[in-house]
Symmetry: C2
Subunit: 321 residues, 2 copies
């Protein structure tokens, strides 16, 4: 089986750690690099977390630090109130022995895209700032990347809406200008938003099984998810939404999701700032705001039982089951 070279752009983050674990264990994944970004917490912390998680998972891929703030809008305050202190639920991981890659995140993205030209799948699961910077300094990037699989957005399909406002999801709301640029670029983007990740629920029993049956890695993921589950329980009735692992799984196997095709834009300001919109063929979009936008793929359905089953199998060390 030919493996798929994957670059994870991430702000770990509880579910980011799960996405990284999935990529570390998945037989189809050739994880070739990690770039970090502010988001769930500040970028020095997400870089620390990414390096420390790599050490725990036995990963030696380059980890390059990226953006500390959005392109244009003021920096936010992070989401430690969701992910817990330090972004991993208060779990203190010892600093990794190695240092970050000396390159900036956007440079590592460009370098790896060329090293795996035509094959690299970019998987951004945080604010899209690094990807936008890479596009700005390297417009040819679009020719080298096979696909971009974004965790972000909320399109209001299936009645699912935003999480930082009724209209906006956190990754996109953190940097709407970057996201709008990534969706406009001439490459294939698959967008895994709340419309589907809210359907992939790791309930309390699932998380306990992950901790009990998943060895050291399962214990780490379980421990780091304690604060996160506490935050989500009121909304989920027990358990957490699997945002980032769902995107990582779909990056390797797009058949896990069904998609709707059409141009995508992000609302840059105003009462619905950060909202993601998709134009559909049934009704015209008469405004210049939509002209020249290529179609992208928005996930509208997901095989949630398979995502959950496969993730559990990988963490248990059973491979894809």
């Amino acid at each position: 089986v030919k493996q798929i070279p994957v670059l994870l752009d991430t702000d770990p983050g509880v579910d980011d750690a799960m996405a990284l674990a999935l990529l570390a264990r998945h037989p189809l994944a050739q994880l070739v690099g990690i770039t970090t970004v502010y988001g769930n917490t500040h970028v020095e912390q997400t870089t620390h977390n990414a390096l420390a998680l790599c050490e725990r998972m036995g990963l030696s891929v380059p980890v390059a630090q990226g953006a500390s703030r959005p392109l244009l809008k003021p920096a936010g305050h992070g989401a430690e109130f969701v992910h817990g202190e330090g972004g991993l639920g208060g779990v203190k991981l010892p600093a990794a022995k190695r240092r970050p890659d000396p390159r900036r995140a956007a440079t590592l993205i460009s370098d790896l895209a060329r090293a795996h030209s035509g094959d690299l799948v970019l998987v951004p699961v945080g604010p899209l700032t690094n990807i936008a910077i890479a596009l700005n300094q390297d417009p040819e990037l679009v020719r080298h990347v096979r696909r971009v699989v974004v965790m972000g957005g909320a399109f209001g399909t299936q009645g699912h809406w935003g999480n930082v406002s009724p209209f906006a999801e956190a990754n996109i709301a953190n940097d709407p200008h970057a996201a709008d640029q990534v969706f406009a670029a001439d490459w294939e983007v698959q967008i895994i938003g709340l419309d589907v990740t809210h359907q992939v629920l790791m309930d309390t029993a699932y998380l306990q099984a992950l901790g009990a049956q998943g060895g050291d890695l399962g214990q780490l993921l379980y421990a780091s998810s304690r604060h996160y589950e506490g935050f989500y329980n009121a909304r989920t009735g027990g358990g957490i939404f699997s945002h980032d692992p769902t995107a990582a799984a779909c990056a390797l196997d797009p058949s896990l999701c069904t998609f709707r095709e059409g141009p995508v834009r992000v609302v840059l300001d105003g009462p619905s700032e950060g909202q993601t919109l998709q134009a559909l063929p049934q009704v015209a979009v008469p405004w210049g705001a939509w002209s020249g936008r290529r179609p992208q793929q928005v996930a509208v359905g997901v095989d949630a039982p398979r995502v959950l089953r496969e993730f559990m199998g990988l963490i248990r060390g059973e491979g894809l089951s």
Copy 2:
């Protein structure tokens, strides 16, 4: 039974004519005035139509001409491609014997609000330009109006979206700044949008029955709806959506709809220009864009069979059945 004084602000328009017919016939309605606005066609034509329709329906209420263009955005091209030539499906009504009221629309609104202080229900079924002008020149207006029942908007509940774009409904998209102001004002607004009017379908057989059993008025409504039904058939599978008559019916009997309460804003520009948004208590709206907004009522459900049955009974001359 105490009647409800109603002022209809309108751009007739095929379904506007139906709303006017409903108000002319409804036992609970005391139609006290009509104001006209651009929208489905230009305002000289909508004024001509309103006066001519009044003559056909035996109505002698004042008809005051209003705005010819939106507050801020460039004027559109009308919607004769939907409503047919002259706005009434090519039906040429002879000019009424009387002239419009000498007052401007916004002045008539203020005058009638004071004449029926605490009781008047405003029913705007076109762009909200006249209402916004009235608010601007007469801020005390809000204290005299009992309720504003708007036909407009699309909130994406029930999977229903816009008609002039995937995100926006025509009345609101025609003048988003006016609509945003009307929803911000300190009065009670009930918003009857596509979320519910797309559920109230006058199918082909219904329209034929209206023409065959509704006397002169039924024949007129049927004849004027021929072009409109032709436009809508592809979308409805035969028949038309009852936008304006649904709003008029709810103005007299709010129990026809169920409502969701929360502040409402309109997107003023960008890729979703004209979109209506409602903030719901489940998720915070952290931006200044929402501060100080009072809750309004958005219709999310409608008793469509009752709306259709009552309208048919009124046009047949049977009263409320």
